[in-house]
C-alpha cells in the first residue's frame, strides 16, 4: 500500500463515518499486531451476517488479525458462507465464481508481481471446503503444481453450508446430510496429504480453538508463500447450523473431534521452508531481545 493511501482528505474528516476514522487511527495497517493484540486495534472485519456461533466467522477474524502485512494483502474468496463476510473486510478482496479462486489468485498474483516488482503483495485465498476440494480442486492443485506463490486457506466446516447443508468431499464418512441421504459413502478427502504431494511447502491443519497457534500458522503460511512456494492451511470450523448443535458448543465440538482423532492439529514444513522460517523467526527473536 502506498504511503498515505489511508489518509482522509483534509476537510472531510468530520463527515467520514466512525468506523473509517477508527481504521485510520487504530487500524492494523503498517503495524505489528496479531491475534494476541485483538481488542487493542480496529479489526479489518466489520459486522457480518454469519450465523451465531459460526466457527468460520471466528476463524476469519483470527486470520485477518494475523496478516503480516494487511496493507499489502489481497484476498480471493469463493462462493459460500465464507464469502458472506467479505464485503465487510477492509482489504481488497475478490469474489469471482464458485471454485475458481486459485486460478483467479494465480492471475492476480502474477499481475501484481508485474506491476509492483519491488513490493511484496500477499495473495491469500480463503474459501470453504466445497469450493476447495470439490468444484475447485483442479484449480487449487494446479496452482500448487505450478508453485504459485499464494496461500490457500480452507475453512472446513465439512458441509455445503450456504446452500443448505449438503455433503461435501470434506464431510466425515457416514454423515447423513442433504444429497447423502444414506450417509456419506467415502472418507474425508485427505487434502493435507494431497497438498504435500502436490508441491505445497507448508501445510497445516488447525482450528479456531487454538487462536494463537492459528495466528502463527497463518502468518507462517503467508511468509513462506512470499519466497518459497505455495502453502495450505486447513482450518476446522464445525457448523452448528447444519450439524445441529448449539452455537455455544463449537469449541467443545472441536475438542471432542480432537479426542476422537478425527481432527488433528498438524504442521508440515518442507526443509527449505523450515530454513526460511527459522531465518525470519530467528531474526525477529533477536530483534526482540
Amino acid at each position: 500500500m502506498i504511503k498515505g493511501l489511508f489518509r482522509i482528505s483534509p476537510g472531510f474528516e468530520d463527515v467520514m463515518p466512525a468506523e473509517y476514522k477508527e481504521l485510520v487511527t487504530t487500524g492494523p495497517y503498517g503495524r505489528e499486531v496479531g491475534v494476541s493484540d485483538l481488542g487493542t486495534f480496529k479489526e479489518l472485519i466489520e459486522e457480518h451476517p454469519l450465523c451465531a456461533g459460526c466457527a468460520e466467522s471466528l476463524a476469519l477474524r483470527l486470520i485477518l488479525a494475523s496478516l503480516p502485512n494487511p496493507e499489502d494483502t489481497v484476498i480471493v474468496g469463493s462462493t459460500g458462507c465464507s464469502s458472506l463476510a467479505f464485503s465487510q473486510v477492509a482489504v481488497h478482496n475478490i469474489h469471482s465464481l464458485f471454485g475458481n479462486q486459485n486460478a483467479v489468485a494465480t492471475g492476480l498474483k502474477r499481475a501484481l508481481r508485474l506491476r509492483f516488482p519491488d513490493k511484496v503483495k500477499d495473495v491469500l485465498v480463503i474459501a470453504g471446503d466445497g469450493a476447495t476440494v470439490d468444484i475447485g480442486l483442479d484449480m487449487v492443485m494446479q496452482s500448487w503444481f505450478r508453485r504459485e506463490l499464494i496461500t490457500t486457506i480452507m475453512l472446513d466446516n465439512e458441509v455445503y453450508a450456504n446452500t443448505g447443508g449438503q455433503e461435501s468431499g470434506m464431510s466425515p464418512q457416514g454423515a447423513v446430510l442433504n444429497m447423502a441421504p444414506l450417509g456419506k459413502k467415502f472418507p474425508k478427502v485427505a487434502l493435507p496429504e494431497i497438498a504435500r504431494e502436490a508441491g505445497c511447502v507448508y501445510v497445516a491443519t488447525i482450528s479456531p480453538d487454538l487462536p494463537r497457534r492459528l495466528g502463527k500458522v497463518v502468518r507462517r503460511a503467508i511468509l513462506v508463500a512470499r519466497e518459497i512456494g505455495p502453502s495450505y492451511v486447513q482450518i476446522f470450523c464445525p457448523c452448528p447450523t447444519n450439524f445441529k448443535f448449539r452455537s455455544a458448543e463449537v469449541l467443545q465440538k472441536i475438542r471432542e473431534r480432537q479426542k476422537e482423532g478425527t481432527f488433528q492439529v498438524r504442521e508440515y514444513v518442507s526443509p527449505e521452508a523450515e530454513a526460511y522460517l527459522a531465518g525470519l523467526e530467528g531474526a525477529k527473536q533477536r530483534e526482540e531481545q
Binding site: M1, I2, L5, F6, L23, E46, E71, D72, T73, V74, V76, S83, L84, F86, S87, Q88, V89, A90, V91, H92, N93, I94, H95, S96, L97, N100, A103, V104, A105, T106, G107, L108, K109, R110, A111, L112, R113, L114, R115, F116, K121, D138, M139, Q142, R146
Partner: protein, 380 residues
Amino acid sequence: MTTQQVVAPEYLFFEAERERQFMTGSEAVAEAVKRANIDMAISYPITPQSESMHLVGDLYAKGYLKEYFRGESEFAVMAAVAGAAMGGVRVFTATGGPGTLRAFEMFPTWAGARLPIVCAFLTRAVNAPLSIQPDTLEMAFMLDTGILMFHAENAQDLYDMVLKAFVVAEQTDVHIPVGVFADGFFVTHTREQVAVAPADLKLPPYNPYYAPVPVMDMENVPVRQMRDPFVMKSNFISYAAHASWQQEILAAQERARKHVRRYLGDLLDTEHAEAPVLVMAAGTAVSQSREAVAAARREGLEVGLVKLKSLRPFPREEVRVLARQARALIVPEFNRVGWLSREIKSVVEDTTKVIDGPRVFGGMTMPPELILAQIRRCYA
C-alpha cells in the same frame, strides 16, 4: 526483441505506414499482440487456436510480454485472466468451440466485473459429434453474455480487430471485455496478405486507474472493496441494485458504439447499399459473399453487400435503415441455427424480406455459387 516505441492508437491504426506480409490468421493474431503492449497472456491448447497462442508464447520468450503460462483448462485460464485483469494489467487469451463452452461461466463474469479483457475466439464446431472444423455456433451462445463481439472476415481484420479491441475495451465508459471472433481454419490457417504496422510501434500501456471500478492492488481507494459483492439479499433494494448493475453493462455496450465507429470505421460496412437485394453476413461468409456479389453484378444483377463487423453492440439502426429500402436480405451463415438471420429479423420491420441461408456447417465450405443461386432466385 525490437525496441518498441509507444504511439497513439490513431497513429498505429491509421497513419503508420503498413507493410504487406503473407501470413496465416494465427500469425496475424501474434502480429497484433506484438504491437498491443500486453502485459500478460495465458494459454490452453485447442485446435484451431493453438498456433496463435504458441506464437504469443514466442513473443513472451522474446520479451514482448512480461508473463505467460499454460493454464489447466479453459475455465481456469479464463478465471486466471480475470484475476490478472483485476490486478490491473492488460491481458490477452484465445480459445474456440468446446473451449468457449468449457469456460462459459466466465464470460458474463468478465462483463459484470468490468474487465477489459480481449479474447480471440477462433471458432469451431462444438460436440457432439466431435469436430475441430469451422462453425460459428458458439457465437449464438455468447450473444447475451454482455461482452462486445467483433467478427473478423479474414486475417487482416483479425490483426486490426485484436489491436483495436484493446482500445475500445479500455475506454473508461466501456471497460468491458471484447471477443474478437474469427472462423477457425478459414481464417486461422489460411495464408493471405496482411498489411501490418511497423513492429517497433506499440499501443500506450493500460492505465488501471482510469477504470470505472477500483483495481485490486491495495494501492487505490477504497480499501474496503470487494470484486464483486453479493448484491443478493432477499429484498427489493438489492434486486434493484443487481438490475441496475446489469443495465450498466448493457449501457457500456451502447457507449462502445461511438468508439467502434471511431476505430473500426463503423459497426458495418456496405457496398452498393442502394441495391434492392443485399447479402448481409459476418465473418468468412462475407468473403464468400463478395465473390457471389461480384459474379452477380457481372451478370447484371443489382445486388449489394453488408458486412457486419460488430455483433455486440448490434448495428440495429443501421440494419433497419438498410432493410427499409431493400427488397430482400440474404443471410448466409456458417452454423446450423442461423443466429445472424434471427438477429436481423428481430430488428428489421418486415421479416419476410429476410432470406435464411445458405447455411453450411460441420466444416463445410460455402461455395459462392450457393449464394449466387440465392441472388438469382431473388430476380427470378
